[in-house]
């Protein structure tokens, strides 16, 4: 993250030069005090459970999830996951530090990394709270005083399991059941770290809460669990940023995000994901949306080798709404299979989807989605728009949307477009003095604007930087 870079330079060429991929590639010495044996057995799960000081119910839950994991098959669709060998991936890495509540207490090398990514700056300037996860433990957590006074809870997931057992047990993996798919089951068994947020009834958190995930250790998996409950009439904007330095071996990320947006509540969940290009990002995100509540997803997907990410809104409450605004940008060696799922499960619900993708340099983007309007969802509306941009003729862009309409009183529409940047448009911009590269970059940034405008300024800047970074030297 580079929030210190300022806003006014978004469009200037100098910004492109300032960015250096290296800042995302800082590796720390792979130090750890404890790294469990590779592979997955009930013994390992029990070991994790002890390490985590789990209550009994959580330990049993993990063992149950392991059983399910061993039964389920890998998906029969989507990107090829054959390179993934679970026996090879150490599922649990714990860094050398305990939970800190002051930035000064975070060990120097970890701190340097986060500093370079701009985390504390972001906090200092505009964010209500920051949780940063380094490998599997949350190392730093803080929240503004006034929010604490209002009863807002923002803590790491392990602490939440111990300190808020009722809230957690009632919601934990109820939104995303372990039977959903193999990687959710795996997550249930080995989850570690993550954030817990509870916003009490009627409380409006008007500045964004942020968490930051980072994978450092080679061959380690990250299985953080995010559980957010926005109670009736409350509102929240939560930002998740993800990044990992580059290693040669495959890294796995199988996190899980569960969001409960209660009646009349509002939640916006924003993600900028820039995992390194060897990451398998098999993340599961789901929201259950109550009566007249609104769930908004904003998602930018830039990193990873393979990504299979389909955030889902279940519109259970009458009059509930959801919006998804997302962009994927796949470059060389990347296969980003992303999309969105929505189930309309009550009257008068509505969904709006605006998905974009950019493929270049042999990268592959797939938009895969589901819109399901159930029989009881009378008078519901859904409108979907997908746009894909091909930057060269060696890349791939696929659109695979399923539209499942089970009743008549609905308004459903879906539109998709694939194409390249038109030569006429490039000529137009060049006739105004822009070089071909600048012209293309401007068009691409404009293409991504509907997403970047939904992000807080420093994230929008980062996204534009990422786009510039991706485009650098690859077009012209």
């Amino acid at each position: 993250m580079c929030p210190e870079k300022g806003i006014s330079k978004t469009m200037s060429k100098t910004n492109i030069d300032e960015i250096n991929r290296n800042i995302y590639d800082i590796k720390n010495k792979d130090e750890y005090e404890f790294k469990i044996k590779k592979g997955l057995t009930p013994e390992i799960i029990k070991e994790i459970s002890i390490q985590k000081r789990d209550p009994e119910w959580m330990r049993d839950f993990r063992l149950k999830a392991l059983e399910v994991y061993n039964k389920l098959e890998l998906p029969t669709w989507g990107p090829d996951l054959s390179e993934l060998n679970m026996e090879e991936i150490a599922t649990y890495v714990r860094p050398k530090t305990k939970l800190n509540n002051s930035w000064e207490d975070v060990p120097e090398d970890i701190k340097t990394t986060f500093d370079k990514l701009g985390i504390p700056e972001a906090e200092k300037t505009s964010l209500a709270g920051v949780g940063a996860q380094y490998d599997s433990e949350v190392v730093y957590h803080s929240m503004k005083e006034e929010l604490i006074k209002q009863g807002v809870i923002y803590t790491d997931m392990e602490t939440a399991v111990r300190e808020y057992p009722d809230l957690v047990q009632k919601h934990f993996m109820k939104c995303v059941p372990i039977y959903d798919h193999k990687f959710v089951a795996l997550h249930g068994a080995v989850w570690s770290g993550g954030s817990f947020v509870y916003v009490p009834k009627g409380i409006k958190v008007d500045i964004p809460l942020q968490s930051y995930f980072r994978l450092n250790s080679p061959e380690s998996g990250q299985f953080e669990h995010t559980l957010i409950i926005v109670d009736e009439g409350a509102s929240l904007h939560f930002i998740e940023g993800c990044s990992a330095p580059k290693y040669n071996k495959v890294n796995l990320h199988a996190g899980c995000v569960e969001l409960y947006v209660k009646d009349n509540a509002y939640l916006r969940y924003s993600t900028i994901e820039n995992w390194s290009k060897n990451m398998l990002n098999l993340n599961t995100k789901k929201a259950i949306v109550g009566k007249n509540a609104k769930m908004e997803w904003v998602s930018g997907s830039f990193g990873s080798k393979i990504s299979m990410l389909y955030p889902m809104s279940i519109l259970n409450g009458e009059g509930s709404k959801t919006e998804f605004t997302g962009i994927s940008f796949a470059g060389k060696g990347q296969n980003l299979d992303n999309g969105f799922k929505v189930i309309h499960n009550a009257k008068n619900t509505s969904s709006v989807v605006n998905a974009k993708s950019i493929s270049k340099n042999g990268g592959k983007c797939t938009y895969r989605s589901l819109v399901r309007i159930e029989e009881n969802a009378k008078n519901s509306k859904s409108s979907v728009s997908c746009e894909s941009l091909m930057l060269d003729d060696i890349s791939i862009s696929d659109t695979i949307p399923v539209n499942d309409i089970k009743t008549d009183e609905v308004e459903f529409s879906h539109e998709a477009k694939i194409g390249k940047i038109s030569d006429k448009t490039i000529f137009y911009l060049m006739s105004r003095g822009l070089s071909e590269e600048d012209a293309k970059a401007m068009i691409v940034r404009g293409f991504a604007y509907p997403i970047s405008k939904e992000l807080p300024v420093e994230y929008a800047v980062e996204m534009n930087n990422l786009i510039n970074l991706e485009l650098e030297g690859s077009i012209g």
Binding site: F427, Y428, S431, R432, L434, M442, G446
Partner: protein, 248 residues
């Protein structure tokens, strides 16, 4: 002696394997307004695109010099940065890029100097008022959802902001109502001075009523068949192109 800005010699141009321009000669000095008139398909737009070296057109013969530099094969953006501007007949839509950001960026490219945003916005606002443009358009995506008239005015706005040495206006008057044509003419007058020049490409003469034109060239079937002064435009308005067609 007037200083030559643009000089085209024996220019032949093909588009999609069809020969469009068949030997054009044209010389434009500083301080002059030139008009190229001609019926549809005579090669007017091709001339404009050839000057800006649009890669969709191929030059098979001839040269183009701008201020003594050969720009025949220069890249479009270099030609633009040297001070040639073209107002498009059909301006492209650029979603997600606001008018302000676009112009600021282009201005920066043209001058090579950083643009001071506050002053720049003031200047922009002033021009927009002069051109009867809604200043809310500043933050809208470039040309997206603009009406035909708004697009053309936006082209004139860009011309004023970028302040080129030579402005080529390709059918800027087509499809505009009387008031819009007046506004566009006003923009052209604001722009015009002794150090720059304008090349107006049109198939009708409406826009010429309120401008003092130095030369009128009649382009028919890829050739300039006659060059004259303002009266030539009036004559064409009265009699049409028929009499010139056999000459091509």
């Amino acid at each position: 002696m007037k200083q030559t800005l643009l000089e085209i010699k024996d220019l032949c141009v093909k588009a999609e394997d069809k020969e469009i321009l068949k030997g054009i000669n044209l010389k434009i000095n500083k301080g002059e307004i030139h008009v190229i008139m001609g019926p549809n398909g005579s090669g007017k737009t091709t001339t404009a695109n050839a000057i800006l070296n649009n890669p969709a057109y191929t030059k098979t013969n001839g040269t183009i010099n701008f201020e003594g530099t050969d720009i025949t094969n220069s890249k479009t953006d270099e030609i633009a940065r040297n001070g040639v501007f073209m107002s498009f007949q059909l301006p492209e839509e650029i979603p997600g890029v606001s008018v302000t950001n676009f112009l600021k960026y282009a201005k920066n490219k043209a001058t090579g100097e950083p643009v001071k945003i506050f002053k720049f916005k003031q200047e922009l606002k002033q021009y927009m008022e002069e051109l009867n443009m809604n200043s809310n358009n500043m933050e809208r995506s470039l040309n997206v959802g603009f009406s035909g008239g708004e697009k053309k005015k936006n082209e004139i706005l860009q011309m004023l902001v970028l302040n080129p040495k030579l402005a080529i206006l390709d059918e800027t008057d087509s499809g505009l109502d009387v008031d819009a044509i007046k506004t566009v003419s006003k923009g052209i007058e604001m722009f015009k001075n002794d150090d720059n020049a304008i090349l107006i490409i049109t198939h009708n003469t409406k826009i010429l009523h309120s401008l003092k034109v130095d030369y009128v060239h009649v382009l028919v079937n890829g050739k300039i068949v006659k060059t004259g002064e303002q009266e030539l435009a009036n004559e064409i308005e009265a009699n049409g192109y028929e009499q010139y067609k056999h000459k091509a």
